[in-house]
Amino acid sequence: MVPDVYAPFQIKDGELIMDGDRMVLNAYDASAIEEALVLTEKYGGEVAVVCVGASKASETIRKALAMGASKGFHIQLNGDEKYDSKSYASILAAFFKDQQYDVLAFGKQSQDSDSGLTGGMVAQLLDLPYSTNAVGLDISESALIVKRQGDTGQEMIELPTPCLVTCSNDMNEPRIPNLKGIMASKRKPIEGISIADLDVDDSALNPSTKVTSYAPVPARTAGQMFEGEPEEIATKVAQLLDTQANAI
């Protein structure tokens, strides 16, 4: 569950002011859920989802159940914790330690902070083979085959299970729950878990990063617009790029 990056916001005295009700399912996680559903529909098995968040997170979990996941876990927070990737990774690792799974699928980053750290941290804490930025997933003889997007091309990587993968939203278009799925989701179980139930100590929960303030992105000076005869304006801009901007 992440803040809706399309929602309006203000920065006042370094504080970020947003409508607390505009929360959405992280787009990258939605792709992870979608691909998990595609794989279980093809090869059998089930998809369970877990979300760490305040009470509103149950709505996000319900959406995943409406997409087709069979059960949900809600690790409950108050909502005022200043957790970071390290905190979330510690919580999730403690949770997964007692779970049975073949693949842990994460979104590769969250839409609000874009750090992309949590998945890798959890893989390390659980000592799982992992890959990141998956743009394709398949299963072959109980191994997970990951198509990973690298810097200049793609790689095909084979991961023995149990394993972890972080997913790109380039992988698929997450399905929009239909009415049948929404009705069915109301009957699917969501287990509530408190941090106290998990074996995670305070030093692990303690964030190593703290956002001390927010600031607007430095504004670019207003640009120049050119309209009119194509040949004229194209030539003009090319010249300005040379003489004015020193960019060619």
Binding site: G150, Q154, I157, P160, D170, A245
Partner: protein, 324 residues
């Protein structure tokens, strides 16, 4: 004396410029704080790159060589990094924020119990801590972040810092990192290189980016020609990589690559926030679009309202003239 260690990445037989940008900044930080500025190269032929790295002020350069590092694999890279960190005992380890870095950064931090901040646009030392600035919320705002830890890892967006040569005599230390089966865990089965000899967009000085307006072979050819006269990399919006017009490695945006070249020319790109999040820090932005209301014009330094088929040919001609 405390140490700042910079990871210097190699690709296509060259030291990556984005790494040298980070090293240049780390050298400045080290000099101000009285820290040692060190670097590590991990590659099949790591030792062949030490003289390039000396030019940027690393007084100690660790090299980890071997066939295990011929291709990127997170297991072997993490093993080599932890081995180096044990030797160097740095306070800060800095990386350019590339896909390879993203593949290891979180796991490495958890492995050594380090504080970590990713994808920063700037960072400074602050006593025992690090202060960083990083874009958040689809790069609509900047967050000021304090990072704590006995060791702190930082990854830096490419183009955040300029190259700054500062040649020194470097001590070269060759390290052995034995990568075993249990380190690897995953198997790299195949590498699918992107089409042709595309420039890594994080390394490019100039980028020509194609959007939905680039609909056919004629338009693609114009993009290729413009990129060629500018010696620019070619990038694309998500619409075009999704439809297969361009390889996904060329995608620019919040999901794809975040770039900040000297010159960014957006052709037929409307300027959706996820795309802008990937290029808004470019030094000079030119936009060509038929629609005067396209949001891309809000970030462009030079906005050309017009049909790309009519604009690009004279634009290319004039640039050719200027370059000769």
């Amino acid at each position: 004396m405390s140490t700042i260690l910079t990871y210097v990445a190699i690709a296509d037989g060259k030291v990556k410029r984005s790494s040298l940008e980070v090293l240049s900044h780390c050298k400045r930080l080290a000099d101000s704080a009285g820290f040692s500025c060190e670097a590590v190269i991990i590659d099949e032929n790591a030792s062949t790159f030490t003289s390039d790295v000396s030019k940027y002020g690393a007084s100690k350069i660790y090299t980890v060589s071997g066939s295990a590092f011929a291709n990127h694999q997170n297991g072997s890279l993490i093993k080599a990094l932890t081995t180096t960190i044990k030797q160097s005992s740095p306070k800060v380890v800095a990386f350019a924020s590339t896909e390879s870095t993203k593949d290891v950064l979180g796991a490495l931090a958890a492995n050594i119990g380090a504080g970590v901040v990713a994808d920063v646009s700037s960072f400074e030392l602050d006593g025992d801590n690090v202060k960083a600035q990083r874009p958040m919320m689809a790069a609509k705002i900047m967050g000021n972040v304090d990072v704590t830890g006995d060791k702190i890892l930082v990854s830096v967006r490419s183009g955040s810092y300029d190259l700054n040569e500062h040649a020194v005599d470097s001590e070269i230390i060759e390290l052995e990192a034995h990568v075993s089966e249990s380190d690897l865990r995953s198997t790299l089965k195949e590498i699918i290189s992107s089409t042709g000899d595309t420039i890594d967009l994080n390394e490019a000085d100039a980028i020509v980016a194609a959007g939905r307006g680039v609909k056919d072979e004629e338009a693609k050819a114009l993009i290729t020609e413009l990129a060629s006269v500018l010696n620019a990399g070619i990038g694309a919006s998500r619409a075009l990589t999704e439809s297969g017009v361009y390889d996904p490695s060329l995608q620019i945006g919040q999901t794809g690559k975040v770039v900040s070249p000297q010159l960014y020319i957006a052709v037929g790109i409307s300027g959706a926030i996820q795309h802008v999040a990937g290029m808004s820090n470019s030094k000079v932005i030119v936009a060509i679009n038929k629609d005067a209301d396209a949001p891309i014009f809000e970030v462009a330094d030079y906005g050309i309202v017009g049909d790309l088929y009519k604009i690009l040919p004279p634009f290319i001609e004039e640039i050719k003239k200027i370059k000769n």
